[in-house]
């Protein structure tokens, strides 16, 4: 038995190792040769390109470096520069010259210049209206609709006033880079980008992300699409052939970024979070982000984009990429303790139970006689598994490696067929609200419940909904599982723009695992979208695990606890619109008739049709639209529809349906309804009803439900035995009305 168990564990261990090796060996690709294209498109920004050129050539020893600079325009003596940074050369360098790179090469593109786009007040500043639909931000009003705007890089021809430059569009850069092969592509933008504007500062470099992001690509920008980027003067002055000095500036973001790359500098040591003497792109970005003084005062926001999967946070690929040569490239994401490519709840659980351990003289991590614990838990490699490591884990929580599979996450529907004792569910499962009871802005709460769980040491889940329908406005986390816990691991768990909530909590030593049923989180949602009249807005509330996992609950061994997913739904219903047959009259489009209004009157009306003998009594309606000229066009086909009948004596509401077709209306048209009764051989008009001028463009196709108050009496009268067919309307007692009367405003 023991041997069998050992064998099983061995197989599992080998499988796990094989999976890790397979992941590591296939994705992301390893780095072989390193290429760089440095573009300085504006004369005042040569300091940063010079700095990175020197670093790449003298410290990192890149295999191939192409430096294109506008300094050629003024014959500035700069031995680093290969050629003029005009559009022809730049396009050639990013396509033809880089075409020699292979699928296991690192390609680095650095851009420093001004540029253009659409500024925060909606003005075109060196941008152009997007025509291929690849700009997700529709921020420019072209006179008829909101459209996206292509961003550009300015390539200065010659320093002059007004500036003389060429536009290098984001679509062109996207096209050029699509022709080359690489294992890792790093594109970095520094310097601000704006055309001369007196309205609002903008830089636009963040706008390149939507064009350039992709698998195995890392995009770094000094700021967002709408914010300005800042720099400062530097003690470097170029003097051109005419003796004119050109002052240089360095970027608030790029300056600390490059400083952190300088081997063993103080900045290098501070940036090297895991003390492995490699400053990765991730570490350099984090260092530059935290040391960017303009970011600190909220003026610019450097961005890192390295995954195409929206369910993953940025940083995993950047952790595995540096400018170092192939043998010095990082091989593991430091906070990814179990090395499965994702920093998630499994790592948190492993970490939580190693918390407090420290290294012994043999290089092993122990805590009060327990151990040894995996040295990967000591993320910053300082000999202690402590809060410093927890901070790094927390900051990186949610990052992961994802190939472009076309799917953002593991589809939860594939697991719905499974039937496990443990259930992770949304409660209440149905969240139904009506517009006449709950207005937009109203709130409701759902709980995420773990039912019949055992050995629970951590949880992490994603709840998704259709964005724009509801917003998640509050979370209440149940911390009562464990007396000691780590987390919540996501500091910004709610993403209403994407319609996603992502959160996680894990046990911390010496807590015991949890058994039983309990709620994990209570989430408050706010209704933000009203349904059209008579219709429903709905969304699923779908629980899913994070990428790389099949389930959301983790046990002591960081194994996933298999469970069934029980999702929820939300519906916001506008009840079918009604039109009441009222007892008062109105004149609309030259027709005086009873009012077909939105609420019932208190004027009782009763009309009778009498006929000899015992007859079946029928009631029905015909429908017209009527214009201001008094011209009526019948929508029904000449005979009453939605007929009800009585063959025996009786009274009360009777209902019948009629499919109203889509009917185009002029804004001043009204709808006229005539109620007919047949008591014997022919239909007799009982009453005519008219709406107001509807100010609508159409009657929407809908199934109307006609509610008639009818009565049949077969009785002896002075004229003999007669059938008396009554029709009543105008009060709640004679509540004749039409349901689902839908119009298109």
């Amino acid at each position: 038995m023991t041997k069998a168990l050992c064998l099983l564990l061995g197989v599992l261990l080998m499988s796990s190792l094989w999976a890790n090796i397979a992941l590591a060996s296939t994705f992301p690709p390893q780095i072989h040769k390193r290429w760089a294209v440095i573009i300085c498109g504006w004369l005042g920004f040569m300091y940063d390109p010079d700095t990175i050129y020197d670093l790449l050539t003298t410290q990192f020893h890149f295999d191939e470096v192409m430096y294109l600079s506008t300094s050629f325009a003024t014959n500035i003596s700069n031995p680093r520069v290969s050629d003029m940074a005009n559009k022809e050369n730049v396009r050639w360098a990013l396509s033809s010259w880089l075409s020699r790179s292979d699928g296991d090469d690192l390609v680095f593109v650095y851009v420093s210049s001004h540029g253009g786009g659409c500024n925060s007040t909606g003005q075109l500043c060196g941008g152009r209206v997007d025509t291929d639909g690849d700009e997700p931000l529709k921020d420019y009003w072209d006179g008829t609709k909101w459209v996206g705007v292509d961003e550009s890089i300015f390539l200065q021809k010659y320093p002059s006033d007004p500036p003389d430059f060429e536009y290098y569009w984001d679509d062109e850069m996207k096209e050029d880079l699509s022709t080359i092969s690489f294992g890792r592509l790093v594109v970095m933008f520094q310097s601000c980008k704006t055309e001369n504007s007196t309205s609002e500062l903008s830089c636009f470099s963040g706008g390149f992300i939507s064009d350039l992001q992709g698998v195995n690509r890392i995009i770094l920008t000094c700021t967002t699409e709408k914010d300005p980027g800042f720099g400062k003067p530097i003690d470097l002055v170029y003097v051109d052939a005419y003796g004119v000095p050109w002052w240089q500036a360095t970027g608030g973001f790029s300056n600390p970024f490059f400083k952190s790359l300088v081997w063993l500098s103080q900045e290098f040591q501070n940036a090297d979070i895991n003390n492995d003497f490699i400053v990765t792109i991730k570490e350099a970005f984090e260092y530059a982000y935290s040391h960017d003084i303009y970011r600190q005062v909220g003026w610019e926001t450097p961005l890192l984009e390295d995954t195409v999967d929206p369910s993953l946070y940025e940083g995993a690929l950047a952790w595995l990429t540096s400018f170092d040569k192939s043998e010095d490239q990082p091989t593991r994401i430091p906070p990814d303790i179990n090395d499965d490519g994702y920093v998630n709840i499994k790592d948190a659980v492993i970490f939580g139970y190693a918390f407090g351990a420290q290294i012994d003289p043999h290089g092993e991590y122990w805590r009060d006689g327990e151990g040894p614990f995996d040295s990967n838990n000591d993320i910053n490699d300082d000999g202690y598994i402590n809060i410093k490591d927890a901070v790094i884990l927390g900051v990186n929580f949610g990052i992961g490696l994802a190939e472009d599979t076309g799917s953002s996450s593991v589809s939860p529907s594939t697991k719905l067929g499974s039937d496990y004792l443990t259930v992770l569910k949304v409660q209440p499962a149905e969240n139904i609200f009506y517009t006449n009871q709950t207005g937009v802005g109203g709130t409701f709460t759902v709980s995420i419940i773990a039912e019949n769980v055992s050995d629970l040491c951590g949880w992490e889940f994603i709840l998704e909904w259709n964005p724009g329908v509801i917003n998640c406005t509050g979370e209440t986390i149940n911390y009562a599982f464990w007396p000691y816990y780590l987390g919540p691991w996501l500091s910004n768990p709610m993403n209403n723009a994407e319609g996603r909530y992502h959160q996680s909590l894990s046990a911390n030593y010496p807590s015991e695992p949890f058994d039983g049923t309990a709620w994990l989180v209570n989430l408050t949602f706010q209704i933000v979208q009203a349904p059209p009249e008579g219709e429903t807005v709905s969304t699923d509330l779908t629980i899913s695990p994070t990428l790389g996992q099949s389930y959301c609950l983790i046990d002591t061994n960081t194994s996933e606890i298999a469970h069934t997913f029980s999702h929820g739904t939300y519906e916001y219903i506008s009840p079918p619109p009604k039109r009441y047959m009222r007892g008062d009259t109105q004149t609309v489009n030259s027709l005086t008739a009873y009012n077909l209004g939105k609420n019932q009157s208190s004027t009782e009306k009763l009309e009778s049709v009498e006929a000899h003998g015992s007859n079946m009594a029928y009631w029905g309606v015909r429908v017209w639209k009527r214009n201001t000229e008094g011209v009526e066009t019948e929508i029904t086909s000449g005979t009453p529809v939605a007929q009800v009948s009585r063959s025996r004596n009786g009274y009360g509401i009777q209902t019948a349906a009629w499919d109203c077709p889509n009917t185009t209306l002029a804004l001043t048209d009204s709808i006229v309804i005539r109620v007919y009764c047949k008591n014997g051989r022919s239909w007799i008009l009982i009453a005519t009803f008219t709406t107001e001028q509807l100010n609508a463009t159409a009657l929407k196709p809908a199934t109307w439900t006609l509610n008639y108050w009818t009565q049949r009496n077969y009785a002896w009268t002075e004229e003999g035995w007669m059938t008396i067919a009554d029709y009543g309307w105008g009060t709640t007692a004679y509540n004749s009305h039409i349901q689902n009367f839908k119009i298109q405003q």
Binding site: F45, H114, D161, P163, S191, C192, K193, T194, E195, N196, S197, T198, L201, S202, C203, P228, G229, F230, G231, K232, P233, D235, V237, V244, P245, W247, A249, G251, G252, I293, Y294, V297, W299
Partner: protein
Amino acid sequence: MGGLRVNFKNLIIFSLFICLGASLFINVFFCMQTLDLRNEIEKQKDQINNLTSQIDSLNDQIDDLMHTRNFTFELPHHFGFLRMELTFRISEGNLSITAKLNQTQCGFVLVFDRNGDGAITIHDEGWLLYGSSKYLPAYVTNITSGEYGFPMCLPFSSSFHYSTEDENEITFHISFPLDTLGLQNDLAYVSAEGVLGRGVLFHFNLEV
């Protein structure tokens, strides 16, 4: 018997002539003297008018001096030293500044304590002024080192300054409406592109 006989009648007539002559003489004398005095009075009036004009002019000068301050600074610079000659003047609700720099191709940094916290910090938006009436917002990030930052955008057109330039110097002519500046004190910081280390922090000593 003959001898001088005094005719009393003649004596009276003679005396009357003498008196008349004396009277005429006196009248003529006083008439002449009155004319002189009138001339003198006119002269004095002219002098008074001149003195009044001079007093007015001096008052204007005093008033002018009370609202104008001049400063000269010399700062270490890439090309030796930078001499700044600054004139601050408040007139008709405007703060006018003239800054003459002995370097061309040199942006002029000007920052006021806009938020009135008694210091020049990154939160006080200033200006990096260029020639051709262009500028960028400037922010002093480190008053000790003199480091300042600016949005790395193309400079904007300015409606509040212009510059004149010759072979060796550039002069910025700047004018801000005081109510748009909203200054709460007279603290200012000036520097320029190419200045080594910090610029100058000073009070320009005008009532704002």
